[in-house]
Structure formats: C-alpha cells, structure tokens
Amino acid sequence: MTKDQLIKPKLKTEEYFINMGPQHPATHGVLRLILTIDGEIIKNIEPDLGYIHRSIEKMCERDSYQQIVHLTDRMDYLSSHINNEAVCLTVEKALELEVPERVKVIRTIIAELTRIASHCLWWGVMGMDVGALTTYFYAFRDREMINDIFEETCGARLTMNYNIPGGLMFDIHPNFIKRVKEFITHFKTKIPEYDRLLTGNVIFQKRTKGVGVLSKEDAISFGASGPVARGSGVSCDIRKIHPYSAYTQVNFNEVLFTEGDSLARYKVRIQELWESVAIVEQLVDNIPEGDIKVDTKAVIKLPKGEYYQRVETARGELGVYINSTGTKNPYRVKFRSPGFSNLSVINKIAKGSKIGDLVAIMSTIDIVVPDIDR
C-alpha cells in the first residue's frame, strides 16, 4: 500500500443532482434550480428559466400603447401598479405630456401601498420558508386591507390597470382617503408585531445572520437592485436618484444596510415598510384637486426614437425601453426586470451553504418568477 492509499479513506462519497422545482414549495412559482449537492452542502446552483415565458415583450410589439399597460400587470404581479406606471411614464415622456399634480400624488400613494402589500406578502412567505407558518396569516391580514382599498378604487385587487398613458382611469373612491388613513393607523401598530414574531426570534436570527453574504462589488457587478442591493450598501433607490411622480415632494430615507447577508436584506424590507408608511402619510392629506388625466388621442403614436424610464418596484429597478418608429405600435419593447438580475446572484452567494440556507436566501432575494421570465 502506498502512502496515498493509506491517507485517503476507502469510502467515497459522490455529489448528486437534485431538481429544486419547477414544482417546489420554495421556488414560489415555476423556477427550476438544478442543484449539485454533496450531502447537504450545495456545490453549484444553476437556475433554469423559461417555464412561464409568455413573450410579453413580443406581444407588446403587436399592441397599442394603451394595451401594453395591461400586459405589464402580468410581469411582477405583486407590484402591478408600479409596472403600469413605468409604461405610462415612458409614453408620457415620449409624448412630452405633463400630467396633473393630482395624478402624480395618487399614483405615488397607490405605488407605496402596492409596495407595502408586496413586502407584506414577502414577509409572510419568508417566515413560511424558514418554517414559521404563522407569519403568512399575519401578513395577509394587513395585505387584505390594502387590496380592499384597491378594489374599491379601481375594481381589481391584484392586476390593477389603474394607470393609463396620460393619467388615471378613474378618480379615487370617496372613501379612499378615510380608508388609507385607517390602514396607516392599523399598520403602524402591526409592524412592531412583525418584529416581535419573527425578527427578534433567536432561531430566525441564526438562520439569516451571515447567510448568503453578497458583497457590495458583487451586487454592483451582477446588476442587483432594490432591497437586495441596498442590503449590501449600494445606494440604488430610483425614487431618490431619479425621482419621478410625486417623490420629489416627500421626505423619506433610503434604507441602507452594509452587512449584505440575508438578515440585512430582511431588515431593509422591514424598514422600507416604515418609509412607505411615512410617504403615504405625507401625501394622503395633500391630494391636490384637479383633473385625473390629460386627454390623449385615441390612437397614440410615439414620435420616432428611443425612450427609457426607470422606476423602483418593490423588488428593485424596473426599466422600460421603447423603440418607436412613429407608428401606433412600438418597434421593440424591452423590460429590464429586477427579478432577473437579482436571481443571477444566487450561485455566487448560496454556493457552499446548506439546503435550508438556500431556501432562506431565495426568500430574501424575493423573486417573482413571471417577472424573471416575462
């Protein structure tokens, strides 16, 4: 026997493949992750996309600009209002329309309510992913109130289509202000409850602290945005650096954490709940009177050229690129979705961790699969 044979153990272990998804409780949709695993330790992660690809960008080339708005609901369905707003802002930019102040303020209030609803859902699902099932119902209790407000205002709870190029589809419901205020008072007492239930839990802290650390450099080079990047200390809030709608009128802080781990990403979102509440609070009393839309032509034709507009959705930076040749349909539409870039960091940050960690990391990245596949 040589020295080498003596040192090496006779038993050998093998790496194996496992398909996490397309049907798996932790992938929140139809995402497939091909994992290479050694025991419980993940050696490699390869996301396999395309299970819910509906060629939304191609469909946009067929549709008029009013119709495109409706398609964007189905991308990141949890921030449907913000997606709609992004397209409307692009079209308005191209047409050089100045929308009334009232529209801007209402759009901002609803966008922030959407963000709260989205973060609520994320918080519930995050708890479920790490095994605390009760969070889901607490979050849905509060999200339900927002959905009721939306339903009263525009008839839909999730895919809202409240924006149209040039303004809003209808005026707000007479109860809107009252109910938003009710919600704000209710929700301010509930965020501390979220902290008591999950944030402070020692098991939760252990599960997330130091897990899936994304460095600032990596966050920038992968193009991560939203809470994922802000958890790593990258200042990337579009509401701050390129303000749109009514964000210039309000005071709010960009939430930044520098640790870059799952807990930092978690804390960013919880803090953002407070910031969104503050924004809504500042605006809801000061909705200016005025028109709810600028009249546009029935058939909108954008001037020849390229147009780009960025907005901050609940998941990060959504960019809308429209290339127009001057006809009633766009020549090419491209959405820069936050989910796609955020998902790309997963192999970098989850390699070498356990299966349980991967689930927690996936949850803090907060992917919405239709947003990745479009």
């Binding site: 798996h24 708890g127 992913d129 605390a132 252990k206 599960r207």
Partner: protein, 354 residues
Amino acid sequence: MITYLSMTKSIHDWLFSILPEGAANITEMVLIALAYLALFAVAGLYLVLLERKVAAWFQLRLGPNRVGPGGIFQTMADALKLVSKELTSTDRIDKFLYNLAPYFVIVTALLAMTIFPFSKQLQAFDPNIGMFFLLAISSIGVIGILVGGWASNNKYALIGAMRSGLQTISYELSVGLSILTMILLTGSLQLSEIIEVQRTGGWLIWQGHIPAIIAFMVFMIAGTAETNRAPFDLVEAESELGAGFHTEYSGMKFAYFFLAEFINMFIIASIAVVLFFGGWLSPFGITEGITWFPEVFWFFIKVLVIIFLMMWFRWTFPRLRVDQLLTLEWKYLLPINLVNIIFMAILIWLNWTL
C-alpha cells in the same frame, strides 16, 4: 376509580368463567389491544383536530368548522378519505421495505402507549423497567422513517430520512439523560412506582426543584426534536424537501406516518406528565378523597397542557438548520444534561430535595 376496577374485574371473571384459561387469556389480550387501538385512533384523530384548531387560533382564522358541529368530524372525514385512496407508489422502489416502513412507525408508537398509567387501574402493562422499555421502543420508530425514505427512490425522501436518523440519534441522548436525572430521584424505572413516589412527596418537578426544572426544559426541547415537530421538523421541512421522507406515500400509508407523529407527541407529553407532573395525581390532592372521581381526567388534562405547549412551539418558531440542530444538541443540551445529573446526584446525596 372503583368503577373501572369493578368493570374490568367483572369482564375478567366472566371471561374466565365461560372459557378455558388459555382461550380466556388470549381473548382478554385481544380485547385490551382493541381498546388501545381505539384509543390510538381517537387520540390520533382528535390531536390532529386540536392541532388544526390551535393553529387556527394562533393564525387569526377559524380552522375546520364545516363537518359536524364546530368541525369535530373533520378529521374523521379526512381519515375516511385516506382509507379510500389508492395506494400509489413510484417506479423502481424497494417494494418490501417501502410497504414495511409505515408499520415500524405505527407499531412502535402503539407499543410505547401501552405502558402509561392513565389512572391507578388503567394500565395495560407495568414492567419494572418501564422507562427503559419506553426509550428502547421509541428508538425503533426512526428505523421506519429511515427505511421509508430509502425505499421511496426519491432524493428528497432520502435527505429527509438521513436528517431524521441524525436528529433522532442525537436527541435520544438528551431525552434519555433528562429521564435519568429524574430516575435518580425516584429510584425506580417502574411507571406506577414513579407516580407512587410523587403521591407523598409532591410532584417530581417540585421535589427536584432546580435540576428538575432544567431537566424538564431539556426534555421538552429534546422531546419535540424526537417527534420531528417544528422547530425541529427538518425531516419534513416542507419548504425545503417537499414532504421529506413521506413524499412518495399516499393513502393510509401516509396516514400511518401522520398519525404516528401525533401519537408520538402524545407519548412525549405523557412521559413528561408521569416524570414531572405526578401522572394521574390531582394537583395538591384536591380529588384525593373523592372515590368516584376519574383520575384519568387529571392525566389527560396535564397531557393536553403539555401538547398545547408543543403546538405553541410549532406555530411560532422558525425551523432550525441541520448543523444548528446538531450544535444545539452536542454543544449545549448534552453538557447541560451531564452537569445536571451530577447536580441532581449531589442534591440527593446532601438530602436537599424537597
């Protein structure tokens, strides 16, 4: 309590009067087994219902409320559905082991249940090595989970099974050692004897004060881990492994695994009640003098309180990661337990027990 005694005694006498001795013995055993099976089924089903109601209460919802008044027949209906379901299996499984696995789990759970003294007379089997028997029997259950996970030919099931193996083997130490700490105090492994000790000196958690409380806390943590319940439900870990080791099981075979989990919870709670809270003894002896009072009541009330505690854990705590699970056991619980045993021994030596 007189009533059970006279009832069982008259059945016993009647059987022996009409049958030859051998046949009467066998009939009696079968009757006792049937009674335990019935208890098993009812306890299992109603613990599931209780779990769902408690979960609903924690989660701001109503829980099952459609089948029967307040939903009390919900789990019966579920069980009926599971019985009538086809037993499917996947391709290229180890058929023999796959079919055997659920029985390992359910039979061990049933065996462990036989030795509990529900009241002074209601005990099927009282060996003088009672606690030892319990530990031995409850260790066999994990074989069923390992075998089931292995035979399913599914990687998720296998990961779940392997996790179950390491979890149960690790936490068995803590369960055993915390039981041992209390055995130092009772000086007997026989369950009826353990309860007799508490009749005069007060419940063991009172007699053993500080080390007993530590032992109780360790026992509750390790016991929850033994039953594979949250926050130690890595074996199933639905957000990580789908359904873990029973992913590929359907119908009644799945139901066996599912029921066994609840029966195991009942067993752990019963051990806790016998060892720390005086079994069927009433608190402060308030029903000591009342001869007709069913002492079973106290036993079940105490068990339900402990079970409620375990459900409370489940619906509020996140799940541990697999390495944290092992760290907790080997780096914290085991050393605490060993020190605690010595502490208890010194206490008894110095006669400082209450």
